[in-house]
C-alpha cells in the first residue's frame, strides 16, 4: 500500500542514541570571566592562552548577534554549558575507551572505518578527545596528528601560538569571539614538506551532553609540496533544549600543496551550528572543500579561502538538505589576493517539509589578483510549497584582468523526469528519490565511497514518505 503520511523527521536511530550523562566534570551554564578562567585552569592552559580567552570574551560581549542570517534568538548562552569533560582521558586504543562511549563510536562506524581506510582517527566526545591514534607508517613520515591541547605543550607550541586564531581572529564575528573564549578539544595536524598522505585522516565529533556546547579547534598545517585529505564528521542525539556547536577550523596550505577537507555534518535538529572554517593557500597550492550539511536546527556555515599565493586555487563542492524545522544558511567565501588564482564554487541545496535553505557566498577579487578566474554555480531544489530556498551570492571585483562567471537556478523536480522514471517501473517516491540523489551527485562523487553511500542513505531517508 502506498504511503501517504509525511515523515516529519528522518530515521536517525544511529545518531539519536543518547548515553546517560556520566561526566567527570560539567561547567555550570553561562558565560562569565570566572567561567572562562575556570575552564582555562581545567585545561591547564599556558598563561598566554588564558589572556587570549579573556580578551576574546571581552570582544564577544562587544559584538552584536548578526541580523542578516537565520534567527538565533532562542540560543541563550546562560543555558549552555561550555565545557563537559567525559569520564575518560585520551586513549590510543579503542579497548581502553569506556564501554558506553566506545559503543557510540562503534555504531557510527568510526573504528571500522579506521581499520579499513584511514591513516589516523581522532574522536571527540563532548568537550574532550577520548581517542586519538595514527598509523605508525604515517608517524614515521613525520606527520603529526594529535589533540591540540597536547600539541600546545609540545615541540610545536611556538608554531601553534603563531597560527592559533590568526586566520579567524576573535573580532571576526561574535561566535569566533565565543570560540576564542571557551574553545576546547580539537586536533592539530602537521604534514611536513614533501609528504603525500595517500589515505585520509579523520576527526569525529560527538556531542552527547544536553544543553551543552562543543567548541573544538582544528588547526592543520600542510607544508610545501605535500598532500592531505582530512575528513570531519559530526553528530549528536536530539534533545528538547538548544545545543551549540561553535567550532573553528584553520587550514594553512603550503606552496604547491593540496589539502582536501571533507565534512559530513549530521548534527541533531536542536543544534545551533555556528562554525567557522578558513584556509589560506600559498603559491601553487590548492584547497578542496567537500561539504554535506544535513543536520542542525540552524546553521551558519561558509568555509572561506584566502588565495594568497600566485597560482593558488580552491574548489568548494557542497550540498545542503533542509528538512522540517531546519534553517540552514550555508555557502562559501573566497578572496583572490594574488595573480592567476582560481576558484570554483559548486553547490546544491534541497528544501523539504518546511525546511529553509539559504545559499550565501562572496567572491572578492582584489586589485593585485590579475588573471584571476572565478566560477560560481548554485542550484536549489524545492520539494514542496511549504519550504523555502534563497540564493544570495555576492561578487566584488577590483581588477579588469579577470574572468568571472556565475549561474544560479531555483526550481522543482520536473514532472517529465518523474513520469519518465515511473514509465520504467519505478514508484513515484523512488523516482523522486532517484532524481534528488542525481541532483546531489556532484557532492557524492567527491566523497570517499563509504561516505557517499552514507550521504545517499541520508537522502533516501529524508525522501522516504515524502509523497
Amino acid at each position: 500500500m502506498a504511503e501517504t503520511t509525511k515523515v516529519t523527521d528522518i530515521d536517525r536511530s544511529i545518531y539519536d542514541i543518547r548515553n546517560a550523562e556520566d561526566n567527570d566534570y560539567r561547567m555550570r551554564s553561562g558565560l562569565t570571566p570566572e567561567i572562562v578562567e575556570k575552564l582555562s585552569a581545567e585545561k591547564n592552559d599556558p598563561e598566554w592562552m588564558l589572556e587570549f580567552r579573556l580578551k576574546s570574551l571581552e570582544v564577544y560581549n562587544k559584538l552584536d548577534i548578526p541580523d542578516w542570517g537565520p534567527p538565533i534568538d532562542e540560543l541563550d548562552m546562560d543555558n549552555i554549558s561550555t565545557y563537559v569533560r567525559p569520564k575518560s582521558d585520551m586513549k590510543a586504543s579503542w579497548e581502553d575507551v569506556p564501554e558506553d562511549i566506545k559503543d557510540t563510536f562503534e555504531r557510527l562506524g568510526i573504528p571500522q572505518a579506521e581499520r579499513k581506510s584511514l591513516a589516523g582517527v581522532g574522536a571527540q566526545y563532548d568537550s574532550e578527545l577520548v581517542y586519538h591514534n595514527v598509523r605508525d607508517e604515517v608517524s614515521k613520515q613525520g606527520v603529526v596528528y594529535t589533540d591540540l591541547e597536547s600539541a600546545l605543550r609540545g615541540p610545536f607550541a611556538e608554531l601553534i601560538r603563531k597560527k592559533f586564531m590568526h586566520l579567524v581572529p576573535p573580532n571576526d564575528h561574535k561566535f569566533a569571539a565565543l570560540h576564542g573564549a571557551v574553545w576546547s578539544g580539537g586536533s592539530f595536524v602537521y604534514v611536513p614538506e614533501g609528504v603525500h598522505l595517500d589515505i585520509p585522516l579523520q576527526s569525529y565529533f560527538r556531542l552527547n551532553a544536553k544543553g551543552a556546547g562543543q567548541f573544538e579547534h582544528t588547526l592543520i598545517i600542510v607544508e610545501d609540496n605535500a598532500y592531505l585529505h582530512f575528513i570531519e564528521g559530526c553528530s549528536a542525539p536530539k534533545y528538547n533544549v538548544a545545543n551549540l556547536h561553535a567550532g573553528c577550523v584553520e587550514l594553512y596550505v603550503g606552496k604547491n600543496s593540496t589539502l582536501r577537507y571533507s565534512t559530513i555534518e549530521n548534527w541533531s535538529k536542536n543544534m545551533y551550528n555556528l562554525n567557522t572554517k578558513r584556509a589560506v593557500v600559498e603559491e601553487g597550492g590548492r584547497v578542496e572543500w567537500v561539504s554535506g550539511s544535513f543536520g542542525s536546527h540552524t546553521s551558519y556555515l561558509y568555509p572561506m579561502t584566502i588565495l594568497k599565493g600566485k597560482g593558488s586555487s580552491m574548489e568548494f563542492t557542497g550540498i545542503t538538505f533542509a528538512g522540517n524545522g531546519q534553517d540552514l544558511d550555508t555557502g562559501a567565501k573566497v578572496v583572490h589576493n594574488a595573480p592567476d588564482t582560481s576558484s570554483v564554487i559548486n553547490t546544491r541545496s534541497i528544501s523539504k517539509d518546511g525546511g529553509i535553505s539559504t545559499y550565501r557566498s562572496s567572491v572578492v577579487i582584489n586589485p593585485q589578483a590579475k588573471g584571476a578566474k572565478a566560477s560560481v554555480s548554485c542550484e536549489s531544489l524545492m520539494l514542496d510549497s511549504i519550504s523555502r530556498s534563497d540564493t544570495i551570492p555576492a561578487m566584488d571585483i577590483r581588477t579588469g584582468e579577470c574572468d568571472v562567471g556565475h549561474e544560479a537556478r531555483i526550481g522543482r523536480i520536473s514532472d517529465d523526469q518523474v513520469f519518465y522514471l515511473m514509465s520504467r517501473g519505478m514508484s513515484e517516491e523512488d523516482a523522486r528519490a532517484t532524481i534528488v540523489s542525481g541532483f546531489a551527485e556532484n557532492v557524492s562523487k567527491e566523497l570517499p565511497l563509504e561516505y557517499a553511500v552514507e550521504m545517499n542513505n541520508l537522502i533516501r531517508l529524508e525522501m522516504h514518505g515524502s509523497m
Partner: protein
C-alpha cells in the same frame, strides 16, 4: 516627516535580504544636503492625480528616499491613459539651472497603452520618484535616457504595480554621471503580469552607478526578464543588486536575471548581488552573470581583421549603446544617445 540634519547620510537602495556587512552591498549611503533639490518648474501635465500609495507599501524595505521630498517642494507630474486609450509622452527633467526634485505618476487604465520617454539633463542634482500603475491588460513602457553632464548627480526611484496580464517595460540608458542611483521595485500582483527590464550602462573616469532592482512575484504565472549590460573603464564603479522574490502563491512564475559586464581597466570596482528568494515550489528562477575582460577569442577575431585591442574596446562600448538604441526603436532617443556618447559629428 523625517527631520534631518544637513549633510546627513541617506540610506537608499536597500536589499530585501541582507548579507554580510563587510561587502557594503546591503544599501547605498548618499550624502544629502537639506534643501538641495528645488521644485522643477517645467512640469508636464501637472495635476494632482497623484498616487502616493500604489499598493507596494509593506512589500519592500523602507529607505530614506522620501526624505529628499519631505525636505523640498517638488513638482507633481502625471501621465494617465483612460481605458483602451494609447498615449505617448516625453518628459525632460532638466538640471541645467539648478538641482530639482519631482514625482511622476504614470497610470495606465485597463487595456490602455502608455509610452513615456524620460530624459535627464544638466549638471545639477536631480531626484525623480516615479509611481507606475499598470492596469489589467494594460501596457506601460518607460524609456529613461540619461543625458546629464558627466559631473551630474541623479537619483531615480520607481515603484510599479502591475495588474492582471499587464506588461511593464522599462529601458534605461546610463552613459555615466558623477553618481547615479537607480531603484526599481516592481510588484507583479496580477496573474500573468509581466516585467521586461533592460539596462545599458557605461562607466568611466570616477563615475559611480548604483542599481537596486527588486521584483516581487505575487500573482500566478507572472514573469520577469531583467538584463543589465555594461562596460566599466578607468576608476568607474558600479553595483548591481537584483532580487527576484517569488512569494508564496506565485505558482507557475518565471524569473530570469542576466548581467554582462566588460571590464577595461584595473582600477574599476564592480559589485554584483543577484538574489533569488523563493517561497513557492512551482517556479523557475535563474540568474547568470559574465564579468571580465574581452575574451581572447573576441580579441583574436578583431585582430584577424586588423582591429587593435583599443579599437575593439571602442567598438564593443559603442555596441552597448547601439543595441539599446535598437531596443527603443525611437529615432529621437537614438539621436540623443549618439549625441551624448559620440558627439554631434556622428549623428
Amino acid at each position: 516627516m523625517t527631520n534631518i540634519n544637513t549633510n546627513t547620510d541617506l540610506k537608499i537602495n536597500c536589499v530585501p535580504s541582507l548579507t554580510w556587512y563587510f561587502l557594503k552591498m546591503n544599501d547605498a549611503r548618499l550624502k544629502w544636503q537639506k534643501n538641495e533639490g528645488a521644485a522643477l518648474t517645467n512640469a508636464v501635465n501637472a495635476d494632482d492625480i497623484f498616487i502616493e500609495n500604489n499598493g507596494s507599501d509593506g512589500y519592500f524595505p523602507k529607505d530614506d528616499i522620501q526624505t529628499i521630498f519631505d525636505e523640498n517642494d517638488y513638482a507633481r507630474i502625471s501621465v494617465s491613459a483612460d481605458k483602451n486609450e494609447e498615449k505617448t509622452a516625453r518628459i525632460c527633467f532638466d538640471g541645467t539651472d539648478g538641482s530639482k526634485a519631482a514625482k511622476l505618476c504614470v497610470n495606465a487604465a485597463e487595456g490602455s497603452s502608455v509610452t513615456v520617454y524620460i530624459t535627464f539633463k544638466g549638471s545639477a542634482f536631480l531626484a525623480v520618484r516615479t509611481y507606475t500603475v499598470v492596469g489589467k491588460n494594460a501596457s506601460v513602457k518607460l524609456i529613461l535616457t540619461e543625458l546629464n553632464d558627466e559631473n551630474g548627480r541623479l537619483i531615480t526611484d520607481n515603484d510599479t504595480l502591475v495588474e492582471e496580464n499587464g506588461t511593464f517595460t522599462v529601458l534605461r540608458f546610463c552613459p555615466g554621471t558623477a553618481s547615479t542611483h537607480v531603484q526599481s521595485r516592481v510588484l507583479l500582483k496580477g496573474n500573468e503580469s509581466k516585467l521586461i527590464s533592460e539596462t545599458a550602462y557605461l562607466g568611466a573616469k570616477s563615475q559611480k552607478l548604483d542599481m537596486n532592482y527588486v521584483i516581487a512575484h505575487i500573482g500566478k504565472r507572472t514573469s520577469c526578464e531583467v538584463k543589465a549590460n555594461g562596460a566599466l573603464d578607468d576608476n568607474a564603479s558600479k553595483i548591481f543588486r537584483g532580487t527576484i522574490d517569488f512569494r508564496c502563491g506565485s505558482s507557475g512564475s518565471f524569473g530570469n536575471e542576466s548581467e554582462n559586464v566588460l571590464l577595461f581597466s584595473n582600477d574599476i570596482e564592480n559589485k554584483t548581488l543577484p538574489v533569488i528568494l523563493c517561497d513557492e515550489e512551482d517556479v523557475n528562477g535563474n540568474h547568470g552573470a559574465t564579468i571580465g575582460r574581452i575574451s581572447e577569442e573576441t580579441l583574436l577575431y578583431f585582430a584577424s581583421r586588423g582591429i587593435s585591442e583599443e579599437e575593439a574596446q571602442k567598438l564593443l562600448t559603442a555596441s552597448i549603446s547601439d543595441a539599446f538604441c535598437r531596443l527603443t526603436g525611437d529615432e529621437e532617443t537614438t539621436k540623443q544617445i549618439i549625441r551624448r556618447t559620440r558627439g554631434d559629428e556622428d549623428e
